[in-house]
Symmetry: C3
């Protein structure tokens, strides 16, 4: 279990209820809610299957509590928790991932430096988890280059075990592919490795660990590697270009390293054209549902689709990237979430994979 | 666990075996089947991961029983149970969901009334579960309007907790979107809320709870919201228009609220053109496989695909809707089921997400 | 649990570590690795959810061991295990599935004979499991015919329970569809059944049990049924035609019946055109990721897509078949694996759904 000790700064109302058991004990609701849950035919075991590992939002066996509480009071309490979550959004947390990494340029080569290191990361107010990160960010810093650029990237390994970087989606030469014992030796603790290649193909790609990766990627060793095309198509000319990386490992259900209410809202002006680059770095599918407007799908794994097509719920599988365009023509604060509902809401309110598209 | 008390009316042979443990105890098969299962390398724990929460079709720890039974007798018993399930199809149960709801029309406005209420619901003969339903149906009554219609819909909440309706896929104005604390206050127990909007976009959409939704939708608060286009395409001119809603929550694996053998068969005459509107209201993918004929995919989430494409197995993720056309040109009673096999069959026969397309 | 007794022939270094508990006990690493796992916030329960049922690659509760070992030694040991797996690839095992079955031809009819029988099957060196197989192969022998061919196929059942064969994707007449109690009686132990039909539609199809199928297919009763078109399209003219069948049942995570490092590499010469026919016979999605080159998707369930499209990660759901073309223009030994990382790697190295595309 991750450490969930609160930071010392003021916490939002939602956070005060973060420890469900403590909260319920205080209000005497445990027996009641256990009873309601059982009566509804919802088993704890089922809920547990899909809850984030280090959260305590739903399910859980609770000690019986004889204090009588009315059904109405429980319903009121549920609404109060839902409201607190929404009111707290967007909640402030320490740390922000996916920040653009400016390269140093030497003789026309774009030079990037990454350091992999253990740290602590706040996924939502009061929830701080063990993390392995590039440059102390989750997702790691955004790398954004142009098709045909020469790139040199040095990874320094300050972890306690070996690692390596795979450029997922980039058709690099074999010795730059980042798979230990196949394309290179592992990068041992304390050592560095430098990758260098000419960027071969445009699109929404990723970089992540390819060594002990089920654990290392789950702990945060991942980031976006965006390659702008030499000749963008007219449909790619947008006002806002947004990267949304999903993960569902040791940090729970996250968008760009944060869980609701600490997720970042997407903000657009009425009439603007928004591009969203979905990237799934997790172990589960996440069908992303946008309220109020549809999405036009233009690319898969960085390759333009032969014909754009429309949807409001886009199923993103692990390792996939999908690019969509949203014409922001319906004003409001639109819910935008994974439609596997236990990834997004419990009887304690929305959590995890929820954010909003705000059209002003 | 849900209440599985039988109703008083006569039950089919399948139902008599509904309680596996009782049945096995009577026939002395428990030790044997436990042994066969272990010998096959199939672990109970794996089977349990995918079984419906309130069913007892597969897996389960059984008390040892010393009575010796031959392997052949167990195989015969397995066939007998498979046959009983098929023979019972389509089995009668109380209640039918997805019935067309005729609106009242006032000044050109189509008026619909929904009441959300707790009830009991029979998913298959002898299996009655706790349910939360719209107008005492699961799925709720089918709403079917035309692009551009003015719609007024009142939801009365007779549940013990708050709720709200989201029109999933409809691009309604913000204050009609049904997300408590974001677009409206929650509808408290005993209260009503009226939605009103001009229907903006055609297609196969849904309505469902967006409050404590992982529980409320799982318990039955969902339905189809079909919007017929002003100008249908030639490919949309069909003989039969069928809605198939999947769910996998508290009621087990269901099509339109029922589990095999109580699922409804689709019936067509040879040469007819059938449209199926798949809608997934569950938490898991369901790749739908049709035997004997292929499906031509024409729409995703209510939006026409740029070019129709063919398949026999269509993966439907939570929140997605897919429309397909089947040219019913192969006579027979064709199995039609989710191809995640543990959602459709156990060693006790077919169950859950199985129905048939009957072409006469 | 399956029997994991080693065969008597020499085993690779990887195999010597096959029993994690024994290995760890010898090296005194148990306490340490348990500690590292806990510290990383990775819970065993999560890892268990996705590990193959009969493997012991990841997670698992271990007895505490007081022997002190350094973090550096544990990291070295992890690398050593990763290296041993890669070095062992492609590891030899007994048995090879998916071998082309040559028909006997009588009066223009192509005659195939299958026998379903219990056997033992080696999925990776030293891991031998209980299996139910067609002609002692997993996958069963590859059937490859031409559109319009007359086919007669006899299945002899030497299992201890009934079975039947369904031709998944073929639009055969109703009485040849292989669903017991609906299209035919079950084939009892010791009995045979003969199917005969004119092959109606081209493409990548499958044959598998449709009786107690969640268990029978999981144990190995499955194979490829390829139908070559009368008039292949230019894009279908390839140098190599490869079938890759995924399964995730009682035998763990397998490609064509084998787990890494015993999976078969795909080998191509630089410039060759490779067709891969993905087929998912399991219960879970498997998003297949190819390193170094993209895949052009040309067919779904045997039906040509209206326009080919490109990707590097293709999500294959249970029951689906997808055909892709790879232009082998990037030399190297490219990792090719399911991108649900716990299906492909643990802290003991790569395992399960991993192979390589070798471009020379």
């Amino acid at each position: 279990m991750s450490n969930t000790k609160s930071t010392s700064r003021p916490v939002s109302p939602l956070v005060q209820n973060n420890s469900r058991r403590d909260f319920l004990r205080k209000t005497g609701l445990t027996a009641l809610i256990g009873g309601v849950t059982a009566a509804c035919g919802i088993e704890d075991s089922a809920a547990q299957g899909s809850k984030p590992m280090n959260a305590d939002h739903s399910g859980g066996t609770m000690a019986p509590n004889p204090a009588p509480v009315s059904v109405a009071a429980a319903a009121e309490e549920m609404d109060r928790m839902h409201e607190a979550g929404v009111k707290a959004f967007p909640a402030k947390t320490a740390g922000k991932g996916n920040q653009l990494l400016k390269p140093r340029i030497e003789n026309g080569v774009k030079i990037f430096e990454l350091t992999a290191k253990k740290m602590r990361w706040e996924t939502m107010p009061g929830q701080t988890v063990e993390a392995w990160a590039y440059n102390e960010q989750i997702p790691g810093p955004q790398i954004r280059v142009r098709e045909g650029d020469r790139v040199r990237l040095t990874l320094k390994n300050e972890l306690s075990e070996s690692t390596a970087v795979h450029f997922h989606g980039l058709e690099v030469p074999f010795d730059q592919d980042g798979v230990p014992f196949i394309t290179q030796p592992p990068i041992k603790p304390g050592k560095s490795f430098t990758y260098e290649f000419t960027v071969p193909n445009a699109g929404s790609h990723m970089y992540h660990s390819h060594h002990n990766a089920a654990m290392q990627v789950g702990l945060g060793l991942l980031g976006a590697f965006i390659v702008e095309p030499k000749d963008p198509l007219p449909i790619e000319k947008v006002d806002i270009d947004y990267v949304l990386i999903m993960n569902d490992g040791a940090h729970g259900y996250t968008f760009n390293g944060k869980s609701f209410p600490a997720t970042e809202p997407l903000v657009a002006k009425l009439g603007q054209k928004l591009r969203i680059r979905f990237m799934n770095e997790g172990m589960m599918i996440h069908p992303m549902h946008l309220h109020g407007m549809h999405m036009t799908v233009i690319a898969k794994d960085g390759w333009m689709q032969p014909a754009p097509w429309k949807c409001d719920t886009l199923n993103v599988a692990p390792g996939e990237r999908w690019d969509v365009i949203v014409n922001c023509n319906n004003p409001g604060t639109w819910a935008f979430h994974c439609h596997i509902l236990p990834h997004a809401e419990s009887n304690h309110g929305m959590f995890g994979m929820v954010t909003a598209l705000i059209v002003k």
